[in-house]
């Protein structure tokens, strides 16, 4: 594998922060990473993820540095997306394409730093708020808006817009998906047209993040005349008038969204003239459009697509950090009898045994072929609290069988284990639209069979899969999860408070010690202590084995070589899109359209 060749033209300086998120090789593969004594050898094949990271680091060191010059302003990027924006109004946009577009159209008060620190205002950079001051009791923050900030219709951004934005999110009649995330913000008052004061109920490490990251500032003069309850279906919610560095040209539902540079933007004109999010009906169509040159960017290539780009003179693969990971969720409760433990996974010993029956390393190699990272717990390694030195349950089928024996599951005549007349049989629910998860489900089925479990695959469409997830009516599911950058995001998945339909605790895992540790991690202001609390919580979760940690995909975007990406953050590769650039000498016809309005 020649990963260096895939990234040869990437400006290394511009992606420094990306490499910074790839931990050192020893961090990715610590010494205590479980290895199978007999089957596993210290081979290059098994270490391809480390090799990938290493080559990425090394491969870029001798690349000629390039930076955009004054003539390099202009050009167009067509992004192939496998979906459609849901809304162009940030407090309603819940789906990924909607978030991508609204992130470019709207600004927040401050932007999270590249290290995704959510504690206090560390790392946050000014956006609509040019500066801010904390009150002595830390229960309020005064935000001073940038006087140059304008909405795309030319109206100035006012403090009353900030107040309106929060009120809108909190309004129950509006029904914003973001509402549960801003409960700690009491209100916003307006001191003068450029000064907004945010009042909080409690002083917490993430109070600044709650406001600055979760609340986009939207224009009151555009939206305020429509009752919040009617905004979901109002035409005004499709106009996309924000204060971001791109403005909306048009949204052809089912086809594309076109944005153009806001040349008078208070944060500076984007280097690109135009960004088009062009919908494809599915993953394969989107990839085909990228490979044929109809699209410039496709955000997630599969391993087989990456291999195709070797030696490609026009396109390249660009890795970037992400917050995605995949695991097998074991349902700890009985779906038919809520409150009762699951007949199989209610037993911790069985969960541990099944975890030990899975050769995660081989599966990772099998499915990702070197373009994936092992998962060490319920977290992607790009998060500040990630700890890749956590002890892991080893892959050991002998021990797994012994554990099952001792738990009372004895091998029956047909090779399937039985306990109290019940067979060790269960289903793995998996969405057919995910090729990665489908592959994993088959491999897991085979692995569990070796220790005497009879596993059926429940392959369903995404709607059916989500319905089963929602009411927890599954035995196990292969979860593909993208986490929140905040520590409190873990509480949404692994705390007792997240049980039931309100949370994402799909396994119904409940452990008071973990709850306490996650609470402590959330309410501690010292990042080192946050990490320590989180580590202990993850350690206990790993010991309890409510899930089998499978993979973290090496997210690799396909990008035409004429485009120079400069900034790809883990919570959204598009975060720095306004600063991507295309050298004047490499432009194509669509780059030369310029800023002409659509006829």
């Amino acid at each position: 594998m020649d990963v260096a060749s895939l990234t040869r033209d990437v400006d290394p300086r511009s992606l420094d922060h990306v490499w910074a998120h790839f931990p050192s090789l020893t961090a990715i593969f610590p010494d205590n990473m479980p290895r199978t004594p007999r089957r596993f050898s210290f081979s290059a094949t098994h270490w391809t993820p480390a090799f990938l990271a290493g080559v990425l680091l090394l491969g870029c060191s001798d690349v000629k540095q390039q930076a955009a010059g004054p003539a390099d302003v202009g050009g167009t990027i067509v992004v192939a997306t496998p979906g459609e924006p849901d809304y162009l109004l940030p407090p309603l946009a819940a789906q990924i394409v909607g978030r991508q577009v609204t992130d470019l159209l709207y600004d927040r008060l401050a932007e999270i730093g590249d290290n995704l620190s959510t504690v206090d205002d560390k790392g946050f950079k000014p956006q609509l708020a040019a500066r801010w001051e904390w009150a002595p009791d830390s229960l309020s923050i005064v935000f001073h808006l940038d006087p140059k900030a304008r909405w795309h219709d030319g109206q100035p951004v006012r403090a009353s817009d900030v107040r309106y934005s929060l009120n809108l999110v909190k309004d129950p009649a509006f029904g914003s998906p973001t509402a549960p995330l801003v409960t700690n913000i009491d209100s916003i008052s307006v001191r003068d047209s450029l000064t907004a004061v945010a009042h909080f109920k409690r002083h917490t490490p993430e109070q600044f993040y709650d406001l600055a990251y979760q609340v986009y500032i939207v224009p009151e003069h555009i939206l305020g005349n429509t009752p919040p309850a009617q905004l979901k279906t109002a035409e005004v919610a499709r106009r996309g008038i924000g204060s971001g560095r791109f403005r909306l040209v048009k949204w052809d539902a089912g086809k594309q969204v076109e944005l153009v540079a806001d040349t008078l933007n208070y944060r500076g004109r984007p280097k690109l003239d135009r960004v088009v999010f062009s919908k494809s009906p599915d993953f394969n169509s989107a990839v085909t459009r990228f490979l044929s040159g109809d699209a410039d960017v496709f955000e997630i290539l599969r391993p087989e697509n990456i291999e195709k780009l070797k030696g490609d003179t026009l396109r390249r693969a660009v890795p970037y950090p992400s917050l995605q990971y995949g695991y097998l969720a074991l349902n700890l409760i009985d779906a038919a009898h809520p409150g009762q433990p699951h007949r199989i996974f209610g037993d911790r010993a069985v969960r541990r045994a099944l975890t030990m029956a899975v050769d995660r390393r081989s599966m990772l190699q099998n499915v990702f072929g070197g373009y994936g990272f092992p998962l060490f717990g319920p977290f992607p390694h790009s998060l500040p609290v990630a700890d890749t030195t956590l002890p892991q349950l080893p892959y050991d089928t002998v021990k797994a069988r012994a554990l099952l024996d001792s738990a009372g599951w004895t091998v029956g005549a047909d090779g399937v284990r039985v306990k109290n007349g019940q067979r060790l049989e269960f289903t793995i629910t998996v969405p057919v639209s995910s090729a990665i998860r489908m592959k994993y489900s088959v491999l897991l089925q085979e692995a569990f069979k070796k220790v005497g479990a009879d596993v059926k695959l429940d392959q369903t469409d995404m709607a059916g899969y989500m319905a089963k997830n929602g009411d927890r009516s599954f035995d196990t599911t292969v979860e593909g999860y993208s986490t929140d950058p905040s520590v409190s995001g873990f509480k949404q998945s692994w705390s007792t408070a997240a049980l039931g339909k309100d949370g994402s605790n799909f396994t119904s895992y409940a452990n008071p010690t973990v709850d306490a540790l996650l609470d402590s991690a959330t309410f501690t202001f010292d990042p080192a202590r946050t990490r320590a609390y989180a580590r202990r919580a993850f350690e206990i979760i790993n010991e309890d084995a409510p899930g089998i940690w499978l993979y973290e995909p090496a997210t690799v975007a396909g990008i035409q070589k004429r485009i120079h990406p400069t900034h790809m953050r883990a919570d959204g590769w598009w975060s720095g899109l306004a600063d991507w650039w295309i050298p004047a000498s490499e432009r194509t016809a669509r780059d030369r359209i310029g800023l002409r309005p659509t006829p």
Partner: protein, 323 residues
């Protein structure tokens, strides 16, 4: 004839009503709902999802939802599309002309081509030309539509980048082209999907037409024509073809619904945002109103297609009129 048409229209109305009713019920019984599809994600509470369900009346009993839909549909309001975030009527109005263009063009071409090929084959039945056409047509008739679409895409958009891979026009440049440029752009985008559909339909039409021609070839009037000195070619073209067109007319009626329903796999492969793709996306997103409206449009097209086929057959063949 009037009574015949009125009777068929009444039958069609009943069929359309039953089909949409069954669809409405089935789609609501399927697991998942449009709100969960959009809002079932970390951080979104059940209260928020419930609020949305209430807002759109999805918390009401199924019968009430159905009666409300029926009453609105009768007034031309087909509801709100959860996946397109627009009124369903607007979504259909956007997609339907695209499908009409794609499938309509493909139908016209395939009927023209299918009939020509059948005539060429039957001019010398069993000859080398007939055998070769037969093999090719059988091959095209046998291949799945998505496979042929993928092969065409791979060959002429990827390996030989002669045509665009997807869409109805260039997503960006189209608006900046001259009139002739725009026309050419539209034609270029039509070539691959229309060719795929045409090839597939030609195979079927041609085989039917050939059978019909071979059926009339031994007729007395054909023998008389040839005995009077008309060449085999002229006999087929002037006499046999006219008398053997009835199956093609029936086939055209049966193909008509595709004008409204779209060609799902071809639309999907070429990202053609027509009715087929719309319906598939709507099903995946559990977009209740859009699914029901798509079925409504399709079932109306089926009814109209069947009616037109009957009328056309009656016009073409006086014997049917008499019956």
């Amino acid at each position: 004839m009037r009574r015949f048409v009125a009777g068929r229209l009444a039958q069609a109305a009943i069929v359309v009503f039953l089909v949409t009713t069954v669809t409405f019920i089935l789609v609501h019984l399927a697991p998942g709902d449009p709100i969960a599809m959009g809002l079932d994600r970390p951080g979104v509470s059940e209260a928020v999802r419930q609020h949305w369900r209430e807002d759109f009346g999805l918390d009401r009993p199924l019968v009430e939802q159905y009666l409300r839909w029926l009453s609105n549909a009768a007034r031309g309001d087909l509801g709100w599309s959860f996946s397109f975030h627009q009124p369903v009527r607007d979504v259909i109005v956007d997609a339907l002309p695209r499908t009409l263009l794609l499938v309509g063009l493909a139908m016209m071409l395939s009927f023209a081509l299918g009939i020509v090929v059948a005539v060429l084959q039957t001019e010398r039945p069993g000859g080398r030309r007939d055998r070769w056409f037969g093999r090719i047509l059988l091959l095209l008739y046998s291949v799945p539509d998505f496979w042929l679409a993928l092969v065409v895409l791979l060959m002429f958009a990827y390996r030989l980048p002669l045509f665009p891979t997807s869409g109805i026009v260039d997503p960006l440049m189209h608006d900046y082209m001259s009139f002739s440029g725009r026309l050419l752009d539209r034609l270029r985008h039509l070539v691959l999907p229309v060719s795929t559909l045409t090839l597939l339909a030609t195979a079927a039409i041609s085989r039917h037409q050939r059978s019909a021609l071979l059926e009339v070839m031994p007729s007395d009037w054909m023998r008389t024509a040839i005995a009077k000195g008309v060449s085999q070619r002229q006999a087929v073209r002037r006499h046999a073809l006219r008398n053997a067109l009835l199956p093609s007319i029936t086939l055209a009626g049966l193909y008509l619904p595709a004008l409204a329903a779209g060609a799902l796999f071809v639309e999907k492969v070429f990202s053609w945002p027509g009715m087929g793709l719309l319906a598939a996306d709507a099903i995946a997103a559990r977009d209740y109103m859009l699914i029901t409206a798509s079925v409504l449009v399709t079932s109306v097209a089926v009814a109209i297609g069947a009616l037109l086929a009957d009328v056309a057959a009656a016009v073409a063949d006086p014997r049917i009129r008499v019956r």
